[in-house]
């Protein structure tokens, strides 16, 4: 008897489905890693209301990231609401006995950077967090997805989550990415093609030579942005790159456990004959550095393009949407994207603030001055320390940029790091939604090299000429 061929996704799903009678319901999945942050206070309040405890404190990990200050960490937190949230997280960690990477922990950082960095994120897991960019963890060949507060409370209480099985989609990126082009550009390219809801209801598996050629940092960027194309999650099959990254990390299995784990992970590869429900193919060599021009990640074009004209939109609804976006962004149709002046830049977030991202941005900035102000916030405190060891902080500072502590910072502005109303920001983050970086803020999403190039010229610009002759990690 031969079983039906299964994809990596199928194997992961089946391995986590608790075998119970679920008439009329979705599947009940076991959760291997549950990350919580100071914004999870609603969920802990729900748990307390019912007088319940945390079912698996050893599989629960807390990180302070969304609201934390990025300056003067030794001073008390000025905003009382934020101080209360960070304190509540500390209290919950103490009460329920789970590991916390708190504000003053040297391993503190953005949850989706800390999990992988500590070796908590591994292949073959279900990883959840009350944050949509939990899709990042799929880069290791795990099912990583974001959940809401009611579901967070449910995971805390039961270590399981109800989920309907998504359809599967493969995004195959063949060929080689050109110089100065990276995972961010690949992600924005497919989202521009399929739309911000193009992968709705799907788990996306990334495959193809260009994906295999990405480092773990690049794969995390790619999976991170899956949610911006509407996907429930993104994943990359684990390989030697994955194992090299993980071996010896603090929380990764060690010794005989490492061997056992590797044997298990090897069995997870998708069967050759297994086909996803949908497939999309991209030619990696054709992907150019991309920037967004509007208020959705689908509003993305190569830097060599021009601001779209609503008059040329395929239908009236689309035309209205483009016109509204341009009005908010303060842009005129037909203007070349290259050369649009920016007011500031931000290099940070769970999308693009890992060590490789900082090295790439520094490669553009070395020996140059930024024409506009900007903030660089490393993805974690350990990334920050490593960057300082490598002298990257000195490059950023010498360029005139501000080098601050790690947190979500200007990605979402909750800690007060905001873009002023009407200001235009070249940003390595993941959302150019209206008001995302502050009320009235105008966000252009792009890769770290492109944000660095924008700093140097004070405009949206093609980073490639600025990278000529320079070593890029």
């Amino acid at each position: 008897m031969t079983a039906a061929p299964r994809t990596l996704f199928d194997k992961l799903w089946d391995a986590h489905r608790v075998p119970i009678e679920t008439a009329g319901r979705s599947d009940l999945l076991w959760v291997d890693r549950h990350f919580v942050h100071e914004g999870s206070h609603h969920a802990f309040a729900k748990l307390a209301e019912r007088g319940l405890g945390v079912a698996e404190p050893d599989l629960t990990f807390g990180v302070a990231d969304h609201y934390v200050p990025t300056r003067d960490r030794d001073a008390p937190i000025a905003d009382p609401d934020i101080a209360r949230m960070v304190e509540t997280l500390e209290q919950n960690a103490a009460t329920h006995g789970f590991q916390l990477f708190g504000l003053h922990d040297r391993r503190q950082g953005i949850v989706h950077v800390v999990g992988p960095e500590e070796g908590l994120t591994l292949p073959g897991l279900v990883v959840v967090c009350g944050d949509s960019h939990t899709s990042t963890h799929g880069a290791f060949g795990s099912l990583g997805f974001g959940i809401g507060a009611t579901e967070v409370a449910h995971v805390l209480a039961t270590q399981t989550v109800w989920q309907s099985r998504p359809a599967t989609m493969r995004i195959r990126v063949e060929g080689r990415l050109g110089p100065g082009v990276g995972a961010k550009d690949v992600a924005l390219a497919w989202i521009a093609r399929l739309g911000a809801d193009g992968a709705r209801g799907h788990a996306v598996e990334y495959a193809g030579a260009a994906v295999r050629g990405l480092s773990m940092e690049g794969r995390m960027t790619l999976c991170n942005l899956s949610i911006e194309g509407g996907a429930r999650m993104g994943l990359v099959a684990p390989d030697a790159v994955t194992l090299d990254y993980l071996k010896g990390r603090p929380f990764a299995p060690a010794g005989a456990d490492w061997d056992r784990a590797c044997a298990y992970w090897t069995g997870l590869a998708g069967d050759a004959a297994a086909e996803p429900d949908r497939e999309v193919v991209l030619d990696g060599s054709e992907v150019a550095p991309i920037v967004t021009w509007g208020t959705s990640p689908e509003d993305a074009l190569p830097i060599t393009g021009t601001v779209p004209d609503p008059a040329r939109a395929p239908d009236p609804t689309r035309a209205r949407k483009i016109a509204a976006a341009l009005d908010y962004m303060g842009l005129a149709p037909g203007r070349p994207l290259d050369g649009i002046p920016v007011d500031r830049i931000f290099i940070g977030s769970c999308t693009n603030a890992r060590i490789e991202d900082l090295r790439r941005a520094a490669a553009v900035l070395e020996g140059r001055r930024a024409k506009v102000p900007g903030l660089v916030s490393a993805g974690s405190s350990l990334v920050k320390a490593q960057a300082e060891e490598e002298g990257l902080d000195a490059i950023f500072r010498a360029a005139g940029l501000e080098w601050v502590d790690s947190g979500c910072s200007m990605c979402v502005g909750m800690n007060g790091d905001r873009v002023a109303p009407g200001e235009r920001c070249a940003s390595t983050t993941n959302r150019n939604f209206r008001g995302r970086q502050g009320p009235g803020a105008r966000t252009h999403l792009m890769s770290p090299v492109m944000a660095a190039a924008a700093a140097v010229t004070g405009t949206l610009t093609d980073a490639r000429p600025l990278l000529a002759g320079r070593e890029v990690a």
């Binding site: 206070h41 109800w162 709705r200 456990d257 208020t295 909750m414 959302r431 009320p439």
Partner: protein, 208 residues
């Protein structure tokens, strides 16, 4: 949470694509406890200008929209952040259902967990309803058993799609934690199996 099968209420049009959860509730309001009520924060930066003055032309601010419980809008509603506060804002404002051609997956799950129906209709049906409602808010009927919506008083019926599991949950008002806890013996057995076969899944060697 109480279940429901039929709802009749005032429907209002929000003819905009891609209302993400950052717009539904800007991040700066989410530090408040739920008991504080989230209705005032709904679509805050679209409803109010920088000094807090309501925009009189915004659909939800018009006097004839008062008391609306059904929102009809365009594609990709509730994409983006997983913040359940987006649903709290809609629910606390008085909404019981949102009708749109597509929803963010996490938003839809959060909605159902709070008794709010995310009803997915065809783009054509959404446009038909928007055209009627843009002239003036009207009463609509929702039938969760038949999965259909219609303008009250004999309007054309439009089918909507909803995951079966989500529909069951809305109809029965199920609470997931209670349901799952009924499966405690199966979960214990599952956990024991993992501890035996893959103890390395617990960081620290599975001694917990």
């Amino acid at each position: 949470m109480t279940g429901w099968t039929h709802h009749r209420g005032k429907a209002v049009a929000l003819p905009v694509e891609g209302i993400d959860t950052d717009q539904l509730i800007p991040a700066r309001f989410m530090s408040r406890p739920r008991a504080a009520g989230y209705g005032d924060f709904l679509l805050h930066d679209l409803r109010f200008d920088a000094d807090g003055t309501p925009d009189p032309d915004f659909p939800l601010n018009r006097p004839e929209a008062a008391g609306a419980s059904i929102l009809v809008t365009r594609r990709n509603f509730g994409g983006g952040s997983s913040r359940e506060a987006a649903v709290y804002a809609l629910a606390d404002f008085g909404f019981r259902a949102v009708i749109a051609p597509s929803f963010g997956d996490i938003f839809a799950a959060n909605a159902v967990n709070n008794g709010l129906l995310p009803a997915r209709v065809t783009p054509a049906a959404a446009e038909t309803l928007l055209e009627i409602l843009e002239r003036a808010p009207a009463r609509m009927e929702i039938d969760l058993e038949a999965c259909s919506v219609a303008v009250a008083g004999g309007g054309e019926e439009h089918a909507f799609t909803l995951d079966d599991a989500m529909r069951e949950k809305l109809v029965n008002g199920w609470d997931d934690i209670d349901l799952t806890r009924r499966h405690a013996p199966a979960l214990d057995a599952w956990r024991r199996g993992l501890k035996t076969d893959r103890a390395w899944l617990w960081p620290g060697g599975g001694t917990g």
